[in-house]
């Protein structure tokens, strides 16, 4: 199965794939150019496609929001 990924999510792919690999150890995930390739047998493509998207979103949002979280902790540490 091939999952297309948006350009702005590409940087999140390596960490997202690492997470997917241990959540779905029966499947194999690989970043190939602009797509994520999923190899395995008897899996629900709709579910895995969504899980790949969610993993990418989560990593993207996590990195994007780190400055906000750091600022919050700084505020609370030194009000």
């Amino acid at each position: 199965m091939i999952v297309q990924i948006s350009e702005h999510l590409r940087a999140s792919a390596p960490v997202a794939l690492a997470r997917l690999a241990y959540h779905y150890p029966e499947l194999s995930f690989a970043l190939v150019d602009e797509v994520i390739e999923v190899l395995g047998e008897n899996f629900d493509e709709a579910v895995i496609r969504r899980e790949v998207s969610y993993a990418l979103y989560r990593q993207h949002l996590f990195v994007q929001s780190l400055p906000l979280r750091a600022a919050l902790l700084a505020t609370l540490s030194h009000p």
Partner: protein, 475 residues
């Protein structure tokens, strides 16, 4: 506009539960998650997030400080040691199949505090700062050494301005002296009632006459300690009690809340109750029970609840519900409570005592003679919070949830398993999924029980916000 990071999780029906780091949550759908993840939120999305405290414009505005306060309030504060579990004896007059403690036979010698040990414990309590103390007597069966319990209680009453005592007892052997001890208004009883007599007998007394004696003793104690008794059932999934009978038993006891306790994966239970490893079966049993009491409450107008689910619901809805030490975050060990074992060794929890007693890992944190070993304690506390776990950081239930490093060590011998593979995570994901489905349910039957459990005359709409944007363009 700045949006505080939102974590999300699909519920079984495809709807998506989202929450920010401060635990403020709402329900939406996959299309919202796509818009959020792809940086293409609509004006309606942004307005909703701003109006509901998930976003702010500048750090100088009240919305920012409000979020900072809510985040801060979500963090459990431990503080001064004020809850001490004491084990005056390891001897017990029962041998329950799921016993998690390192019990000794009732007639064994050398398993009680010596006079020197008692003096050391009192010395330890004397040195505590603060004016309040809560003492929990564990065992073994602590009432076998009523003299030691009296000595501790007398000491604490004199030493502290306010003191409370909880006796965790099997109520198997109760005479006038025990009844007199338990009749004091500062003394509470915690016991196990596994259901009707046959259920109780199967796991605990293994002798119907003893089970009958237990229920007679329970009745006698209820007469002298009304309102100060809490009972809970331990559930064996291989031989579960009849739920209707269990409910009737607790209603007869006058309890409007039942804490369904799974067999703790400690001690004897490792060998005799392999089902204690199966979190899926536990979750199904638990949800069946909750569905049953929801239906029953609606039919009878009753208010029966399941203690732990109610705790989870309350933790979702507001900060500050940190009194249950097994579910708080950070769950700092050896902080505001600890265990002094029969031999004077300090443990952060009773489960840590068991893990150590069976030789799996030494989780002791000092001795009553020399105090807390802060280096050992710090090593344990490195795993006592969920903020930085690589999976918890993406879980919308993280602000309400906790961690249980001792259970992880007990079950898996390690702390670094991916969280979703642990019993703790499997149980709490299911609990919070259930809680979320209930909170967003419009079913009057569910709403009736929610009102009772949350002590609310009505469930406000804003308690469980929902956001959809039907005008949003789709991909």
């Amino acid at each position: 506009m700045n949006i505080w990071p939102l974590r999300f999780r699909e519920l079984a029906d495809g709807r998506v539960f989202l929450a920010d780091d401060a635990g403020t949550f709402f329900l939406s759908d996959r299309s919202f998650v796509d818009r959020y993840g792809e940086d293409r939120l609509t004006t309606r999305d942004r307005d909703f997030l701003l109006a509901n405290g998930h976003a702010f414009e500048t750090e100088s505005e009240p919305a920012y400080n409000s979020f900072a306060w809510r985040w801060s309030a979500r963090q459990a504060k431990g503080g001064r040691l004020r809850y001490v579990i004491l084990v005056p004896t390891l001897r017990c007059n029962l041998a329950c199949t799921y016993c998690q403690v390192s019990r000794a036979p009732e007639t064994a010698r050398g398993f009680d505090w010596t006079p020197e040990a008692l003096a050391q414990v009192l010395g330890y309590l004397e040195a505590l700062s603060g004016s309040e103390i809560k003492i929990e007597f564990q065992g073994g069966e602590p009432l076998l050494r009523l003299d030691l319990l009296n000595a501790v209680r007398d000491f604490c009453r004199a030493r502290f301005a306010r003191s409370e005592f909880v006796v965790c007892t099997n109520l198997q052997s109760i005479g006038p002296a025990e009844l007199d001890f338990l009749s004091a208004s500062d003394t509470y009883v915690s016991t196990s009632v596994d259901g009707v007599l046959s259920d109780h007998d199967r796991h605990r007394t293994q002798n119907p006459a003893l089970a009958k004696q237990f229920f007679e003793n329970l009745g006698a104690v209820r007469r002298v300690a009304a309102g100060r008794i809490s009972a809970l059932p331990t559930i064996d999934l291989d031989q579960p009690p009849d739920l209707d009978a269990l409910i009737r038993t607790y209603e007869d006891l006058g309890q409007n809340s039942i804490f369904l306790r799974p067999v703790n994966y400690q001690g004897f239970a490792r060998r005799r109750h392999p089902a204690a490893r199966d979190v899926g079966r536990w979750n199904q049993f638990h949800e069946n029970f909750v569905r049953k009491i929801i239906e029953r409450n609606y039919q009878t107008g009753g208010n029966l609840g399941e203690y732990y689910l109610t705790l989870c619901l309350k933790r979702m809805l507001a900060p500050g519900h940190d009194g249950h030490v097994d579910l708080r975050n950070p769950g700092l060990l050896g902080d505001d409570y600890l265990v002094i074992d029969q031999d004077g060794v300090l443990y952060p929890t009773d489960e840590a005592r068991m893990v150590s007693r069976i030789g799996l890992a030494d989780l002791s944190i000092g001795t009553v003679a020399h105090g807390v070993d802060h280096q050992r304690l710090a090593a344990l506390n490195g795993a006592a919070f969920n903020h930085l776990d690589p999976d918890c950081v993406h879980c919308p239930y993280q602000p309400f949830c906790g961690v249980d490093p001792v259970d992880d060590i007990s079950r898996y011998g390690r702390l670094d398993l991916p969280k979703h593979l642990t019993w703790f995570c499997g149980r709490h994901l299911a609990l919070f999924d259930l809680a979320a489905r209930l909170l967003f349910s419009r079913d009057e039957m569910v709403q009736h029980s929610l009102r009772q459990w949350l002590d609310l005359p009505e469930i406000p709409i804003g308690l469980a916000p929902v956001h959809y944007d039907p005008t949003a363009p789709t991909r």
